[in-house]
Symmetry: C2
Subunit: 355 residues, 2 copies
C-alpha cells in the first residue's frame, strides 16, 4: 500500500532524491567510495557544496545581488542565536506568530533589546498579525514566514526600511517569493529541502560586520562565508541530498511550477474543510498556510472513525501538534496531489457515513 506521508518534518522528499541519496551512501558516482567516507576537502565534495550553494542562489533569483548561501548545522534553532549574535547591536523587532517566533525571541533577548512589533498570541496564533508601525531604529525585523504548528503563513511581507530576517524553515522553495526582500533568511532542511542535519542560510553580505561584540567563530557568518561553509566538517550527506532536491526543483520547472502545484493541493484541502460539516479549520482564512493545513473535527466523537479511515487509506503523519490538537496535513513540495485527494476522500466518506 502506498503511504501518503503528511509528516510535518522531517517529511516527504522526492522519491528519486531518496533513491539517489541511497545509492550515494553505497557509492558516490563511480568513485569506488561512499559519499560518507570521502574527505570534505576532496574535489568530489567541494563540487557538491559549490553546486548546492549556486543552485540555492539561482532558484531564489539572488545571484549577483550581494548574497551568499551557506549550509550550516544546528537547525533554525541555532539561527535564532546566530542571527542575533551577528546583527543585534541595540534593538531588534520581532513579529510573534507562534512557537518558533517565541523561541527566536527568547534567544535574541540574551544579546540585546527585543521588542514585539506584533503578536497573535491573543488567539493562540491562529492568524498572522498586522504590523501597523515598525520602528525605524531597529537593527532588524524578524519574522517566521510560515508557522508549521498553527498552519498560518504571511501573505504579504511587511514594508520597512530596516533589514528583514526570516525563518523560512517550512515554506522556503514552496513558491516564487520575492526573496530579495530579505537581508537574511534561513531554513532547516527537513521540509522542502532535504534531510534533517543542515540549515540553508542566505545572507546579504552588506548587513554583516556592524556589531561590536566578538562573535564565536562557529556562529560568525563572515567566517562561514570565508570558508565556504567549511569552517569545520560539514554534514556531507545532508548537503548532498539537499543538492539532489535543488536539482529536482529545477528539473520540475522551478518555483513557478512548484508554486502552482502547491496551490492546487492547498485549494483541495481548504475547499473540503470549508464545505465539509464535520471539519473546522483552525487558522483564519486569510492567514492559511499552503504548506500546513490545520483543522479539527466538529464532533470530537468522530475521531476514531476518521483515524481508522485515514489509516486504511495509508495516510500518515496528520496528528495535530499538541498546542492545537486535531489534525495537521503538511503538504510539502514532494507530496503529490493524489495524496491530498486521498485525504480529502477520507474526509468526504466521514461526512457521508455520519449523516
Amino acid at each position: 500500500m502506498k503511504i501518503h506521508n503528511f509528516s510535518a518534518g522531517p517529511s516527504i522528499l522526492p522519491k528519486e532524491v531518496m533513491q539517489k541519496a541511497s545509492l550515494a551512501v553505497k557509492e558516490l558516482d563511480d568513485s569506488g567510495l561512499s559519499l560518507i567516507e570521502i574527505s570534505h576537502r576532496s574535489k568530489n565534495f567541494v563540487d557538491i557544496m559549490d553546486e548546492a550553494c549556486d543552485k540555492a542562489l539561482n532558484i531564489t533569483k539572488l545571484r549577483g545581488k550581494g548574497y551568499k548561501a551557506l549550509f550550516l548545522q544546528g537547525g533554525a534553532s541555532q539561527q535564532f542565536l546566530m542571527s542575533a549574535y551577528n546583527l543585534l547591536e541595540k534593538k531588534a523587532g520581532f513579529i510573534n506568530s507562534g512557537t518558533w517566533s517565541t523561541k527566536a525571541i527568547k534567544e535574541a533577548q540574551l544579546l540585546g533589546e527585543v521588542i514585539e512589533v506584533a503578536s497573535s498570541k491573543d488567539k493562540n496564533f491562529n492568524y498572522i498579525p498586522k504590523t501597523n508601525s515598525i520602528p525605524a531604529d531597529l537593527d532588524y525585523l524578524h519574522l517566521t514566514t510560515n508557522n508549521t504548528i498553527f498552519g498560518t503563513q504571511f501573505k504579504e511581507i511587511p514594508e520597512t526600511l530596516v533589514p528583514l530576517v526570516a525563518d523560512m524553515s517550512s515554506d522556503i522553495f514552496s513558491t516564487n517569493f520575492d526573496y530579495s526582500k530579505f537581508s537574511l533568511f534561513y531554513a532547516g532542511a527537513q521540509k522542502n529541502l532535504g534531510p534533517a542535519g543542515t540549515t540553508l542560510v542566505i545572507v546579504k553580505e552588506d548587513i554583516l560586520g556592524k556589531v561590536t561584540r566578538k562573535i564565536p567563530s562557529i556562529l560568525d557568518y563572515s567566517i562561514q562565508i570565508k570558508s565556504g561553509s567549511m569552517f569545520n566538517t560539514p554534514p556531507v550527506f545532508s548537503v548532498y541530498t539537499c543538492l539532489l532536491t535543488l536539482r529536482w526543483i529545477e528539473d520540475n520547472g522551478g518555483l513557478d511550477e512548484i508554486g502552482k502545484k502547491n496551490k492546487i493541493k492547498a485549494d483541495l484541502i481548504y475547499d473540503e474543510i470549508d464545505k465539509n460539516s464535520k471539519f473546522i479549520g483552525f487558522a483564519d482564512k486569510e492567514s492559511r498556510s499552503t504548506m500546513n493545513a490545520t483543522f479539527n473535527l466538529s464532533e470530537p466523537s468522530l475521531a476514531d472513525s476518521f483515524d481508522t479511515l485515514c489509516q486504511n487509506a495509508g495516510i500518515s503523519g496528520i496528528k495535530g501538534h499538541r498546542s492545537v490538537g486535531g489534525y495537521r496535513a503538511s503538504m510539502y513540495n514532494a507530496l503529490s496531489i493524489s495524496s491530498v485527494k486521498a485525504l480529502v476522500e477520507c474526509m468526504q466518506i466521514l461526512e457521508q457515513k455520519s449523516k
Copy 2:
C-alpha cells in the same frame, strides 16, 4: 580494484554499516518510509536515538555512573564553544597539543580566563607535552587526546582533581580507555563513529549548573539532556549511522578487540617507518598516535615514485596536512589490517627500487 581508504576524516566506515545506512535511506526496516522522511518524534526514530545513547554509555563502561550521552550538531568546533559556555566560570586550563587545541583555546577565551598548562608548539606539535603542575583552582582542564594533523596521542591522562574535558574526535572508541577519568568528552562522528553531521557528547551531570551566565538554549547541555538530544530536530541519518557503527563495535568484541586490531595496524606502519631508510616519522616515538601515522620521505625527490606506487595499489587519502607536509596514514577502526599491509608494501618497494 579495492580502494584502501586512509582518509583523515570523514573516513572509512565498516562496509556493512554503509550498506545498511544506504538501505535505510531507501526504506527503514519495513516501515514503507525512508529514514529521512519520518518524524524524529516517531517511535521508530526515538528508539534509534535511545539505543545509540545507551550503546555509547555501555561501550565506554559509563552506564550508571552519572553520565549522559548526547548526539548534537556542529562538530567538535561547536563543543569548543559549548563546553566553555557551560563550564567556564573563572578560569580554564588547556593543554595545547596542536591545531584543534589552539582553536578550542580561542573559543574559550571569549568566555573567561584561559591558561595554557602545557604546550608543544615549540616543536610544531610533534610531541605530547608533559604537564608538571596543574593549578587546583581551574574550572576544568581541556585536552585533545589525539592530534589528527600531527599524529600524536596522549598515552597517559594527566592526574588532577579538576574536571577533565577532552576532545576525543579522532580516537574515541579506538581502544578501552578509562573513560571515567573525564567529566566531559566529545567527538565529531566522522572518524570512528559515523558520517559527519553529528557529535557524540558524554557528560557527567554533576559538573553542570555551576556557571552564573545565561546559556543560549541550543548550547546548554542541561537543556539538551532534558530533551534527549531533541531540543530541535536531530540529524537523523547521522545518528542512525552512528548507531549502526556502535552495534558493529559490540558485534566485533567491543573496545578490547578493536584496540588489539588497532595496535597491530599501528605496529605494522611504525615498524616500517623505523626500519625503512626512505622514511622519517614526524611524531616523537613516545607520542605516536595509533590512529594517524605521520611521516615524510627522507629524499623529497622520491615523492613522484612513491605517489605512483600508492596510486597503483589503490591507496587513497594519505597526503599529509599542509602544516606537516609529507604523508599521513589514518587507520581508523574500520580500516583493515590488509590495507595497512598494502601501504607498507609500497614503502618497501620504494626502498628496494631506490637502492
